[in-house]
């Protein structure tokens, strides 16, 4: 059997990422590759859809189908794609600016909709690609190019928002703990519905506050919480609030989640894209007859 086993190398391509050395996004890339391999997926079964940002480049660094879209719209692309072809494993990804600033609306509504996708946000609490402005995740007082006197906006709590929006799967990883991240992504992909995964992915170039060390000191793995039950939405919310959003691991999963696709009236298991385009003459005539 060993020769059949997919390894993460199957998901590597020959592009050298243009991320800065040490960027947290390398770990996210590696974790995605390993998760895909662990799930026994083949490259053509997967599509990685990404937004614009340093993080958004990820779709070009992985050997799967990839769509690098517009800023903030990865989830809209991904949802359309999944509706077209529900056999695909669709992973959307991007930065915290992409997903929580310009794209926040789609994030919330994708969560509500619960289409079977996995969404990975590389949360570095800053805008990397545009060279270091504040992001909705930047802490109050955080000094950046755009907030030289410190940010004066309250940072978003994306996972609390996700729970409030009715998320059925909420998890958080950290680039320093690739094993945990792999497990989270695997679980997210297996989850029947929308999996919301926030990853602390340090920007070593522009964010000198929320560094690897800083995160290491601040994260609270769910395992450290006695008897943590990831099936209780209210408790999950409480735990997030109490840890100021620093909880990592699988924070909440609805065991009864039914994906959007499975709720659509008349929607088939056979992907749309494999169904015939042409109507039968009789079908057409029946439709038209309604107008006579």
């Amino acid at each position: 059997m060993t020769e059949l086993k997919v390894t993460f190398k199957e998901f590597r391509n020959d592009v050298a990422p243009n991320w800065c050395p040490g960027c947290g996004d390398f770990a996210v890339l590696a974790a995605m590759q390993r998760a895909f391999a662990n799930l026994g997926l083949t490259p053509e079964q997967v599509a990685v859809v990404s937004g614009i940002g340093c993080s958004g480049r990820i779709s070009g660094y992985i050997h799967t189908y990839g769509f690098h879209g517009t800023h903030g719209r990865a989830l809209a692309l991904a949802q359309g794609l999944k509706i077209a072809n529900r056999d695909l494993v669709v992973v959307a990804s991007g930065g915290d600016g992409d997903g929580y600033a310009i794209g926040m609306n789609h994030t919330i509504h994708a969560i509500r909709r619960n289409i079977d996708l996995t969404y990975i946000v590389m949360d570095n609490q800053i805008y990397g690609l545009t060279k270091g402005q504040t992001s909705p995740r930047s802490q109050m007082g955080f000094q950046t190019k755009s907030t030289p006197k410190g940010s004066i906006e309250s940072p978003l709590a994306p996972l609390q928002m996700a729970l409030a929006a009715g998320a059925t799967f909420v998890a958080q990883g950290f680039s320093s703990d690739v094993n945990q991240l792999v497990a989270i992504i695997e679980a997210g992909i297996r989850h029947p519905g929308f999996a919301m995964i926030n990853v602390f992915s340090p920007c070593v170039t522009f964010n000198k506050i929320n560094t690897y060390d800083w995160f290491r000191e601040h994260v609270v793995p769910v395992e450290t919480i006695e008897g943590y039950d990831p099936h209780d939405r209210n408790k999950a919310m409480q735990a997030l609030m109490e840890t100021d959003g620093m909880l990592t691991g699988i924070i909440y999963q609805d065991p009864d989640s039914v994906s959007y696709e499975d709720r659509i009236p008349g929607f088939q298991k056979t992907p749309l894209v494999k169904q015939p385009l042409k109507l039968e003459r009789a079908e057409f005539e029946a439709l038209v007859a309604e107008f006579m």
Binding site: E10, N13, D14, V15, T42, P43, E44, Q45, A47, V49, I52, S59, G60, H63, T64, Y65, G66, F67, H68, G69, T70, R73, A76, L77, A78, Q79, G80, L81, K82, I83, A84, N85, D87, L88, N105, H106, I108, H109, R113, I264, P265, G266, F267, Q268, T270, L272, V273, Q275, P276, L277, K278, L279, R281, E283, F284, E285, L287, V288, F291, M292
Partner: protein, 586 residues
């Protein structure tokens, strides 16, 4: 007996006055008459005047008539606002209940007060006053009652035979009352018999939706907006039968982007909206252009700018549809003129989108999208499915693991083969950033130029099968009329009258808006003494396209209307006469 007749029903919005109009029109359609309707309504739910003007004829009609033969009024406001439109000898039918009166200065018009409400009450429910009103029309026009029986049964059959019976009684009572009042049928309201053929009766939006289904679209993503919502609402009802679905998205950006995502996945998917939605889609349309992802987008034009006149007729998005989005992409814009064309053009739009791998915008206007009209049979066999270089159902040849598929291969026609996610040997990357043949970001100058050239090459020489509709009987006409979208019928009626006065008029209707079919249009412009572009906007957008692409600026005149109402034949006729007079042609 008359060949045609114009009927209007009016009342307060939200009070169910759609019913009598629909019933009247459907019954007459069943009798084989041709119908053309336009609803006047406001951007509010209850209250405010609304009306439905329906033209009935034994011959095809594609325009409103200038005047009105019959006005059915559910309130005094309806009379006050519309009585002036009645021709000499026209009739107002109104509910006796509120003592209807004709406003000052309305000339030779007859008012018949029919006790809509009391008859309905006698029959058990004031709701049936609508039916009494329909009956009054039946009496006035001396119509057979059978088709009404049929439609009433369809409408209320589920509620049981008594309900049907009551409603039919209401119609009978209304008819009886008017017959008694008139002392016998008036010849001027009796339509010549129709051919009795069953024809389709639908709005443009329904035809667009049918076209999409016929073309194999099984996914629509959309956000509600007037006057586009019916497309989505129809498909929501129907698509589940075919395994498809509609997602009502959070906004139009999500809608169009989802449609792009689904097309990337290999499905045929689309969205539809009106001006505000299209404006929001601007960035995404550029993404489709850059990534060469097919996508179809319907723009049902309404009064702009901004929220503008959401329930009114206009044709003012032409420029925006051609030029919107930063940077330069290939894009197709087509504009059907009739409900039939809505169907065929919509189906064709999906072919074009896939053959050229570009966004295709199907442009309609409110009168076309919402006007309910008699429609020639829609021909199943005319709907082709052509997918161009789509490889989704092809077995791709084996290749080395990292030898990505050249999704953006530089080809002679600029179009590249297109595998879809899931295919084993089709892996490639797609990005809105400039990219190389396998879709990887590339900033190189040489690659950039090649890729821009490739994309723009796709539509060089592009030509629809029918880029313009031509009605050009004259070799050397005095005037060429040029129109777009719903104005075809009204221009033709104006031309009939002009011809009757000795004017030689040709007429083309622009269906291929972008790329502009200059070579098709030019000969007609050249041959004409004068050109009159009829359009519903204030800045003569279509005329400017002519000037830009064909020239002959000095020949080109405009008839513009931008007050929210569709053209009437008389308006074009008279303004054209004015323009022609200045040229001393008449």
């Amino acid at each position: 007996m008359v060949d045609q007749l114009s009927w209007k029903v009016g009342g307060q919005q939200g009070e169910g006055i759609e019913k009598p109009g629909d019933l009247f029109a459907t019954a007459l359609n069943r009798l084989g008459y041709y119908l053309y309707g336009y609803r006047h309504f406001s951007s509010r739910i209850k209250g405010g005047h609304t009306n439905n003007k329906i033209r009935v004829s034994i011959r095809p009609v594609r325009a409103l008539s200038d005047d009105l033969d019959i006005l059915v009024a559910f309130d005094q406001e309806t009379i006050d606002l519309n009585a002036r439109e009645l021709r000499k000898g026209g009739v107002v039918i109104a509910d006796a209940k509120w003592n209807p009166r004709l406003p000052e200065g309305v000339g030779d018009v007859r008012l018949i007060s029919v006790p809509f409400t009391s008859i309905a009450q006698e029959l058990g429910s004031t709701l049936m006053k609508n039916m009494v009103a329909v009956g009054a029309t039946v009496g006035l026009m001396d119509l057979p009652v059978e088709p009404f029986q049929e439609v009433v049964t369809e409408l209320w059959g589920r509620k049981g035979a008594t309900v049907v019976e009551k409603n039919m009684q209401a119609i009978a009572r209304g008819a009886e009352f008017v017959r008694r009042e008139l002392g016998g049928p008036l010849d001027e309201f009796r339509l010549a018999p129709a051919d009795g053929k069953r024809r389709l009766f639908m709005i443009g939006n329904e035809a667009l939706a049918l076209g999409a289904i016929a073309a194999g679209a099984r996914f629509m993503a959309a956000y509600p907006i007037t006057p586009a919502s019916e497309i989505m609402e129809y498909l929501i009802k129907v698509l589940p039968q075919f395994g498809g679905t509609v997602i009502q998205t959070e906004d139009e950006i999500a809608a169009v982007t989802m449609a792009i995502g689904a097309n990337y996945g290999g499905a045929r998917a689309f969205t539809a909206s009106a001006g505000p939605g299209l404006s929001l889609m601007t960035e995404a349309i550029g993404l489709a252009g850059m990534t060469e992802t097919p996508v179809v987008i319907v723009d049902t034009q309404r009064g702009g700018p901004s929220t503008g006149l959401p329930t009114k007729q206009e044709q003012s998005d032409i420029n925006a549809m051609i030029y919107s989005t930063h940077g330069e992409i290939p894009k197709i814009v087509i504009a059907p003129s009739t409900v039939e064309e809505c169907f065929y053009d919509m189906a064709e739009a999906f072919n074009l989108a896939e053959e050229y791998q570009v966004p295709v915008i199907v442009l309609t206007d409110l009168a076309l999208s919402l006007g309910k009209q008699t429609v020639e049979p829609l021909d199943y066999d005319r709907v082709e499915i052509r997918r161009g270089k789509y490889l989704g159902d092809t077995e791709l040849p084996e290749r080395e693991r990292l030898d990505l598929f050249k999704r953006y291969e530089l080809t002679a026609d600029g179009v590249s083969p297109r595998p879809i996610p899931g295919q084993k040997y089709g892996i490639h990357h797609v990005t809105g950033v400039e990219h190389n043949e396998v879709g990887r970001p590339s900033e190189g100058a040489a690659n950039r130029k090649q890729m821009m050239d490739k994309r723009l090459r796709k539509l060089q020489g592009f030509r629809l099968k029918n880029p313009i509709n031509v009605h050009a009987p004259h070799e050397a006409p005095d005037v060429l009329f040029v129109g777009i979208n719903s104005s075809e019928g009204v221009i033709r009626e104006a031309i009939e009258r002009l011809e009757a006065e000795g004017v030689k008029a040709n007429h083309i209707q622009i269906r291929q808006v972008h790329p502009f079919p200059a070579d098709d249009v030019r000969p007609y412009v050249e041959r004409a003494e004068q050109v009159i572009v009829v359009e519903q906007n204030a800045t003569a957008q279509l005329a400017h396209l002519l000037i830009l692409h064909v020239g002959y600026r000095e020949k080109i005149h405009n008839i513009l209307k931008y007050d929210g109402n569709p053209f009437l034949p008389r308006e074009i006729f008279e303004q054209a006469k004015g323009l022609l007079k200045t040229k001393e042609l008449i």
